[in-house]
């Protein structure tokens, strides 16, 4: 048996579009096979075909050499195909064990035999190195742990072939390392894995072969050992992609943002920002590096007026803006690409066009004497949609219907267009593919070159290293070091971020 799964020349149409066209994916036993493609390339559609959620118009699926018809997910389960969803399908208030056995409960006299189930869960988790506490409630465990429960669910159901749908999107760097270890153990135990992703680094690290699709069309399958990230990126995007973001030396001028002795409490009333000092100058990008939860969110919220500061000073172009209402801050010249584009960045149920004036709707020419001028609003929206390459059927399409990358481009367009002196970009490329990332980085650097100050917050070290002119490391609510990206390494940053090393800011370092 050469292949455990063969998807041959699959074609899937939806009204108006061809989501998959002539895609072939062959999975060898015991391999980790990557499925690579941009957002919206058709990766999920293809996997949903394999999982029985969609029926293909053309093509054939073979499991262990035998042609099969997978009419619904139960059939897929019976064939030993299990899916680890990107958005977990777990009952928050149930325990780990209860979630794993859900729908497959072993009963004794009408009662669930929870003891036996827990034993089984323990056995499986030990065998595959998936340490979990079977009695813990889902709501009490971390995202990484929840993902393990998802994996255990598929194993409990006897899956031989596991599909991972963008599993690292929600994980911290540490959790990603652990997941990679888990995947390797699974392979050792005789499982086969399909990994849906657009992160090239992961592919290079764990995968054996990779199948690339672009705009719904199968581009081909290559051995990871015979390729490199650059080649994969150009296969995926269809053109050359540069990883090293091109930029000239920065020429910073006066301080635009000046934070001194800032103290901010988090939502639980605990000190999240303790005595933080930070400057961002005109014409430079300052990257904030740090592990999630070290005060980044509170820092952004304090600057933008979304959270009350306890004490200290935040000056924008010399003007005190601490504890100003968000609108005042915005009008003073701050643009903000928020961390969570769905929660803060967009009103998803508004047309994308109306989202383009979210901060300016009350001003002329969009509004006159309190009455909106939709002609002006939509003509502005059209300009931004064109200029920032937001791919949308029309300016009247609900923001909800756009892909993540296009939603992000819309937000970035809106924020840059307001021409703020300080642009705060919080995780601007989270969940986006290389093409979109490249584009967004270019735009940020362009702002810098126009003499604006840019504050970049990201958990991706690559991004911080590539884009920033200076890196400020945040640890437990303080800036513990300011370093030059050209003179530091990921290792050094990692240590700084973990708080195990402290670099006293002094001399040339402009804290």
């Amino acid at each position: 048996m050469e292949y455990v799964i063969e998807m041959l020349n699959i074609r899937k149409e939806f009204p108006g579009i061809v989501a998959n066209d002539n895609i072939t994916l062959q999975l060898k036993p015991g391999e980790i096979h990557a499925l690579l493609g941009e957002n919206g390339a058709g990766k999920s559609t293809l996997m949903n075909v394999l999982f029985g959620l969609y029926q293909p118009e053309k093509g054939e699926i073979k499991v262990k050499g035998k042609p099969v018809r997978i009419t619904d997910p139960n059939v897929a389960n019976d064939l030993g195909i299990g899916m680890v969803h990107q958005h977990f399908m777990l009952v928050d208030r149930f325990t780990v064990t209860e979630n794993i056995i859900l729908g497959k409960e072993t009963t004794k006299g009408g009662k669930i035999d929870i003891k036996k189930a827990e034993k089984e869960v323990r056995e499986i988790s030990e065998r595959y190195g998936l340490a979990v506490d079977p009695q813990a409630k889902i709501s009490d465990i971390s995202v990484g742990m929840q993902q393990r429960v998802e994996i255990l669910k598929t194993l409990y159901r006897g899956a031989e072939i596991l599909i991972f749908d963008e599993p690292t999107a929600v994980l911290t760097p540490q959790e990603i390392k652990e997941l990679i270890q888990i995947m390797k153990t699974l392979i050792k135990e005789g499982k086969s894995i399909i990994l849906i992703t657009h992160k090239l680094k992961e592919i290079m690290e764990v995968c054996d072969r990779v199948t690339v699709i672009r705009k719904g069309v199968g581009i081909g399958t290559v051995d990871v050992s015979e390729t490199n990230p650059n080649e994969l990126a150009s296969l995926m995007v269809g053109r050359e992609v540069t990883f090293k973001t091109d930029k000239t030396e920065s020429s910073p001028a006066q301080d635009v943002l000046e934070i001194k002795n800032l103290k901010v409490k988090d939502s639980r009333g605990l000190g999240a920002i303790k005595n933080l000092d930070l400057q961002v100058r005109a014409g430079e990008i300052v990257g904030i590096a740090g592990v999630d939860g070290n005060g980044q969110t509170e820092l952004i919220e304090a600057i933008t007026g979304l959270r009350k500061s306890e004490s200290g000073s935040i000056k924008l172009n010399g003007k005190e803006i601490i504890n100003m209402p968000p609108r005042k801050v915005t009008e003073t010249g701050v643009g903000h690409i928020p961390q969570d584009r769905h929660k803060h960045g967009l009103v998803l149920d508004f047309p994308i066009g109306e989202n383009m004036v979210l901060q300016t709707y009350y001003k002329s020419p969009f509004s006159k004497r309190g009455v909106l001028n939709f002609k002006e609003i939509y003509s502005k929206a059209m300009t931004l949609i064109k200029e920032f390459d937001v791919r949308t059927p029309s300016e009247f399409t609900l923001a909800r219907a756009l892909s993540g990358g296009n939603q992000q481009k819309a937000i970035i367009g809106r924020e840059i267009d307001r021409d703020p002196d300080l642009l705060i970009a919080a995780q601007p490329t989270r969940g986006l593919d290389v093409g979109a990332i490249e584009y967004i980085h270019k735009r940020l650097i362009e702002q810098r070159d126009h003499g604006k100050a840019v504050l970049l917050i990201s958990f991706e070290l690559d991004e911080i290293m590539n884009v920033s002119d200076r890196i400020a490391v945040i640890y437990e609510g303080e800036i513990v070091a300011v370093v030059d990206p050209k003179q530091t390494t990921e290792q050094e940053l990692g240590l700084l971020m973990a708080g195990s090393k402290r670099k006293e800011a002094g001399g040339e370092n402009h804290v």
Binding site: R327, T330, E331, Y362, L372
Partner: protein
């Protein structure tokens, strides 16, 4: 199928299903369903008098529906329309009996008093929601009871001497119209319908065309994004409740200044405020939809009075049929899925 088509078809199917199940019940209980529905139709549109009564009944329904829908469009559930209506009713009658002014001042004053009273009654839950995150559903429900008993108390002790109703409002504050009564064979149809239609326009214009409406809708959909964009979420929540309450208060004025001309002690709720929830739901929370939904409710309510007389069907059964229609509207999700299935098959 487009969403717009669905928004039209779903309520229609709901009404048909309600009628269908009502028919089955009537047949099962031994009544003549054909005669009953004929009586219902005749009772609503058989004579011009009845039609006048239908329009009169539609008037407060439109306003109550607007009140619920406006709050809903901005992300709030105003279950207190009934209470706001009751205080609006009382306020309008109070102004109507207490002053003696030229009509051009007195009538607008009485109408505005109703709107202000309803607005005030809704301001309290709005404030509690905005400042202390107290859920508006609980507060508005309780405010209904407060409204009922406080107005009864005022009618008994302040506006009358231990009587169970106030005196008639002054001629200068009435909405009644000799002309409208004349052309409808002396129904109680009054000018209020114009106020209701003006409010429909007002709601549409405010929500869809103004920057304030943009803000209210944004807050309704996503408070976080609204805050991020610099909108004052608390203020918008309060404003939304106040406008919603003003609509409800106006619905009360329709009864106080139009239909009745006085306020009487009530043993229980009028029901109009609660029916407003159903009207808003059936009308898809849109201004035009609400007019049609109110029309349906008004004609059912008025036409039903004729069913016991003409077809011998008890009133209770009529209420059951109305309830069934509301049930199917509330269950419109079910109908939507059904329509989706059918139209998908059509595509294949």
């Amino acid at each position: 199928m487009s969403n717009r088509m669905k928004n039209i078809i779903v309520p229609l199917v709901a009404v048909l299903l309600g009628v269908l199940v009502g028919t089955i019940i009537m047949i099962a209980t031994g009544y003549n369903a054909g005669a009953a529905f004929t009586a219902l139709w005749n009772g609503a549109f058989g004579e011009i008098y009845y039609t006048g009564e239908v329009v009169r009944q539609v008037t407060p329904y439109i306003l109550a529906g607007l009140a619920v829908a406006f709050a809903f469009r901005t992300g709030l559930f105003n279950i207190g329309v009934e209470g706001q209506l009751i205080v609006g009713w009382l306020a309008s009658v109070w102004v109507g009996v207490a002053f003696d002014l030229p009509k051009i001042i007195h009538l607008p004053l009485a109408v505005l008093a109703a709107a202000a009273a309803g607005a005030l009654w809704a301001f309290i839950p709005g404030l509690l929601k905005a400042k202390f995150k107290v859920h508006e559903v609980i507060v508005t429900i309780m405010m209904n009871y407060v409204a009922l008993h406080v107005t009864n108390y005022i009618i008994r002790t302040v506006l009358s001497e231990k009587s169970d109703r106030t005196e008639m409002i002054a001629e200068s504050s009435t909405l009644r119209s000799v002309f409208l009564e004349g052309i409808t064979d002396y129904s109680r149809l009054h000018w209020g319908i114009l106020i209701a239609l003006a409010c429909v326009f007002f709601m549409w214009f405010l929500l869809e065309k103004t920057s304030k409406g943009y803000e209210l809708r944004a807050v309704g959909f996503n408070q976080h994004a609204s805050e991020y964009a610099g909108m004052n979420v608390s203020k918008n929540i309060i404003l939304s409740m106040v406008i919603s309450g003003a609509f409800a208060g106006l619905a009360g004025a329709m009864e106080g200044l139009g239909t009745f001309g006085y306020a009487a002690i009530k043993g229980g709720f009028t029901g109009v405020g609660f029916d407003g929830i159903a009207v808003a739901l059936l009308g898809g929370n849109g201004p035009v939809g609400i007019i049609f939904a109110a029309l349906l409710f008004g004609s059912l309510k008025v036409g039903a009075l004729n069913m016991p007389l003409e077809a011998g069907v008890p009133n209770e059964l009529v209420d059951i049929i109305i309830a069934l229609i509301v049930f199917f509207v509330a269950a419109s999700y079910m109908i939507r899925i059904f329509i989706d299935r059918i139209s998908k098959k059509g595509v294949k």
